[in-house]
Symmetry: C2
């Protein structure tokens, strides 16, 4: 079999969420947008539900409908993009809670689905989603008369605890929601770690559930193992891979493994990335191809039939850093071609 | 609806393949590995079959089995990774043609599936897949006695017509296959463009079918349109997005659109990338989020409900270049969340 294996540990996902919940002053939701950060909405959401999660956040109404079909009732499914043109039937039929981002969305929701629960998203400075402070002031009375079930905002710099943006956004959120007696939410994973003044009634952990920075001391949730197709000996001066970008400085033993950028292993992953046989890391050589990678296994005294890309020695965050990006992007870019094994499946 | 749309033009794919076939001296196959370069194996393979393609190449036996289920007979499905441990049943049950890469694979195939067609892959210098010249010399007699249906190799530098590696590999291939009267293949898209001496009996166009470099004058096959969630006015000095990386130099109008790196829009896509409303390109501002991108639409005199990422003005190759990669990687990284529309469906 030339198909690489992605092993996803649902117990680790459950424990990470539990830890983030215990760090939260009050209730904790679970963010499962983008196919649960690439790891599989169905398996991840079920595992989190078994662990006690009853409030979920997704990006779009389509994702919400899929999640509702997986979970059934009872659970609250919030949609970050709110109530868009064309969403009305999905929101109604799958009992979703849109997070209203604009006066236009508010008007649409109150006109078309007045009886359907909704939340409000406020912009506290990120300028990405949510009502602007002036829009909120203008529409607050009307909005509150329609009984939103949640008021939330999102932090732009929570990964940097000392960034002054955090306290600015907190203060803006406090000002905008002052004296409003509705459930409030501001913090995702980074915000949870900023401390209890950021927690309000509900936190929204995402990336920490999946074992990545800025969460510390979380459990790794992913392993990737890649089959070796063949091993060859090369001489000094021989080149490997596309564009002849790597020339061997000496006699080497090279393994060709069966995965590549079509599997989300970014071409930009650098010279620091290793493929592991047990405890020994072997460097990638030459360009990463669509389905193949060359690995220098000269240091091994065996002929491995698989090598590990993600394991206890090389984390998602490390690989992402090698590629000049963040763990979030590595996760959501995981290809569809892996054989996916789920361990610790929800009881 | 907050889901972005990917529109895939099957007629363009068919015409691009037809053009590559007409450029080939003899027969042309179609490479449809990695889910037809991310565009959908089922739809693409059927369209190419209708267009006349009868020989296909995939990366793994699993991909081959899927393709066989889509196409049925009669067609030849070659597997680049050859005959791996665990592949035997798939190769047999789905009538696949493994491309033998090593003595180990040859031995496995001749032992377990002696009656099943196979091809041979030779390494002519890329040091990635295929028998080394010495292995080939040692095993040639035995191999030929088993009647392989194809002998092939792959060029490492075909995208660079003047690279001396091309002629070296061609000469190596000629030497290794001298006086062997079996169907031969060396060229993929780049090799087709190098000229007829590279074509042999069968070419293997891949990326050119999908409208990307190094193929020129091919038809674009993909459009991506992204819904606008909301539009806001910001003042000079306001920041947009994660990490406050972008500060507005003046009053601006900003659209937040509903797609991000989870959809394969790399975080590294640079300042050169535009989102288009009709003929007007609007710059991306701030960091690309998982599901959201900020766009400066100050230059528009309308409030768009969608913006285009890939269209006639901004190609896959251009976007890939903005991100420091190649069209192949952009295609195979396309996310699963798009609503995929296929136009020009195979009759």
């Amino acid at each position: 079999m030339a198909t690489a294996t992605a092993t996803i540990n649902l117990n680790a996902i459950r424990k990470n969420w539990q830890k983030l919940r215990s760090l939260s002053s009050n209730d904790a939701a679970a963010v499962v947008k983008a196919n649960a950060y690439g790891l599989g909405l169905k398996q991840v959401a079920k595992a989190l539900y078994v662990e006690g999660a009853r409030i979920f956040f997704v990006a779009t109404a389509e994702e919400g409908a899929e999640l509702r079909s997986i979970l059934g009732e009872p659970s609250d499914i919030y949609v970050f993009s709110g109530h868009m043109v064309g969403d009305t039937e999905l929101i109604k039929n799958y009992n979703l809670i849109p997070l209203i981002n604009s006066i236009e969305q508010l008007s649409r929701h109150s006109k078309l689905l007045r009886e359907q629960k909704f939340g409000v998203q406020l912009d506290t400075g990120m300028n990405r989603l949510g009502l602007e402070p002036m829009e909120w002031e203008a529409s607050k009375e009307l909005t509150l008369s329609l009984n939103p079930v949640l008021i939330m905002s999102h932090l732009a710099c929570a990964d940097e605890p000392n960034h002054k943006m955090n306290i600015n956004q907190l203060n803006n959120f406090l000002t905008l929601t002052n004296k409003i007696n509705i459930k409030k939410s501001l913090a995702a994973t980074g915000g949870i770690l900023l401390g209890p003044e950021y927690h309000f009634d509900l936190t929204r952990p995402g990336i920490g559930i999946y074992g990545c920075s800025p969460m510390q001391d979380c459990l790794p949730v992913l392993k990737i193992d890649i089959p070796v197709i063949q091993i060859r000996n090369i001489e000094s001066g021989e080149t490997v891979g596309y564009g002849n970008t790597w020339t061997s400085p000496s006699k080497k033993r090279i393994a060709t493994i069966s995965a590549g950028y079509a599997d989300g292993i970014f071409r930009t992953i650098g010279k620091k990335t290793r493929l592991y046989f047990e405890e020994i890391g072997c460097p990638i050589i030459g360009r990463i191809s669509m389905d193949l990678i060359g690995v220098d296994i000269t240091s091994l005294n065996v002929e491995p039939d698989r090598l590990a890309l993600i394991n206890s020695r090389q984390t998602i965050d490390k690989i992402a850093d090698d590629a000049g990006t963040i763990g979030y992007e590595f996760l959501t870019s995981l290809g569809q071609r892996y054989k996916r094994n789920y361990t610790g499946v929800a009881r």
